[in-house]
Symmetry: C2
Subunit: 316 residues, 2 copies
Amino acid sequence: MRDVGEFGLIDRVARQALQSPTVLLGPGDDAALVAAPDGRVVASTDLLLQGRHFRTDWSTAYQVGRKAAAQNLADIAAMGAVPTALLIGLAAPADLPVTWAQELAAGLADECALVGVSVAGGDTTRADSIMIAVTALGDLRGHAPVTRSGAHPGDRVAIVGELGWSACGYQLLASGAAGPQKALARHRVPEPPYAQGPLAAEAGATAMIDVSDGLLADLGHIARESDVGIDVEPGAFAIPEQLRTTADRLGIDPLVWILTGGEDHALAACYPAAADIPPGWTVIGTVHKRSADQSAPRVTVAGKAWIGAQGWDHFA
Amino acid sequence: MRDVGEFGLIDRVARQALQSPTVLLGPGDDAALVAAPDGRVVASTDLLLQGRHFRTDWSTAYQVGRKAAAQNLADIAAMGAVPTALLIGLAAPADLPVTWAQELAAGLADECALVGVSVAGGDTTRADSIMIAVTALGDLRGHAPVTRSGAHPGDRVAIVGELGWSACGYQLLASGAAGPQKALARHRVPEPPYAQGPLAAEAGATAMIDVSDGLLADLGHIARESDVGIDVEPGAFAIPEQLRTTADRLGIDPLVWILTGGEDHALAACYPAAADIPPGWTVIGTVHKRSADQSAPRVTVAGKAWIGAQGWDHFA
């Protein structure tokens, strides 16, 4: 990167891409200009750090780019919005090959293309290791945002997208054990069901969340913000054969991956009893009144506290 | 930070602040919701790294927060827009005192309050050193964005805000030499003339830039994007007495600080000959046709190439 220089890198990485119609002014100025036809803009920022959120020996630069974009675009979908643009901050060592940054940009661009947007701007600087800051913007198209705080007792809890694969892939990579390619692929590049976010909003979802920390942990966020309890029915999950056999071989309950594995970027939402839940969603639980016993867990599995990891806390 | 945990930290840092009217949904959900009454949103992302963009032994957490917000809000002003919200990504070591993050948040909030906005959301994660990713959003209120590419031959070049103080402060901190408190203060916390950005847009500015890399380097961005030449009149700058005496004592030409010092976050703009330049701006140069000689410098000082630092390139 030292040879190209900061300004050269910004030019190379950002300007090579075609801009989507929502990007009215792309990279190269003090700021970008992005369409916000709704008169409001949905905005989310995430950080990805080398060694913590990705490993360059586990994932290619292209895969890191795909994942960095995906996890932020999923946040936009989880509000019920459609993405409009991405902004990228890249800190990288001076001896990082320029091709790595170019492949990262290609991954970002390709994931953005899945939802019809592009990278509208960014910043690059030197650092000892690679850090990527992603900001995603989105548009609600006149809908109310679907927050974490709107769930009501009597709602059904449903998910869309696949769960458990990323955690399985992580375990395979960490242990060196053999296992399904799909698990490795999904850990490297999740496949969030982007279009389902706005569909859930249209169908009247009362609360929604991107499943990034693990399903039980993320349902816990909804339960806390909505001041309700949520019970998950473990029999509702169709456990894929490949996940089950891999888990059996490793001596693990595959439900642990499904209920507590992070980074799958499925969507979980609550729907009123009368709502027509869109095709593709699976009902996996119910919302009930918060227990009078304040020490009772907010999220239960078949009516009982779940023993085990509750998802990740990055400072724990 | 380890004791509080990631979710606790987000809650503490982000939710304690009152939200501005432009923040329709603040921290605590998958994404924030920010007003964009113009139907377009201006967006800019910057990274600040410990040891590279700030030093914890030179600046307090509060000052780092002020500066992190200021440099991004200045980018919004440089487009002719008014800020609407900030999003923050914070990567920090587990042993960072929680008070440091709280003081950082206070600095961010206080700088935001100068322009009537607030921190609408963010992300925190663990890292070996402190990294802050700031995204600023803004609204054009119906004006066209003032880009870097609209300057025309015959335009006057004007600046608003003070130049040279941050570079002077940096030199004092780096050398341990004594000098004016104002220089130290401005290096730690710049004072961008936020309100002048929209005023310049209203007055018909053809091009504008936030002076962050150094005046000549930043005018070079305008000259390149507009395909023009710019000549700077060095006699046009009123050199403050404190800067001159400090420079004399260090054996430096104070014009070096003014023309090439970074991080002052003044604004530089080009105005048509017929425009009424708003009060507070100083005309310091002129826009002319690009020389037919492609090897000639795009930006000259009194008609000649400037010998010396041309601003910073973070990978050079």
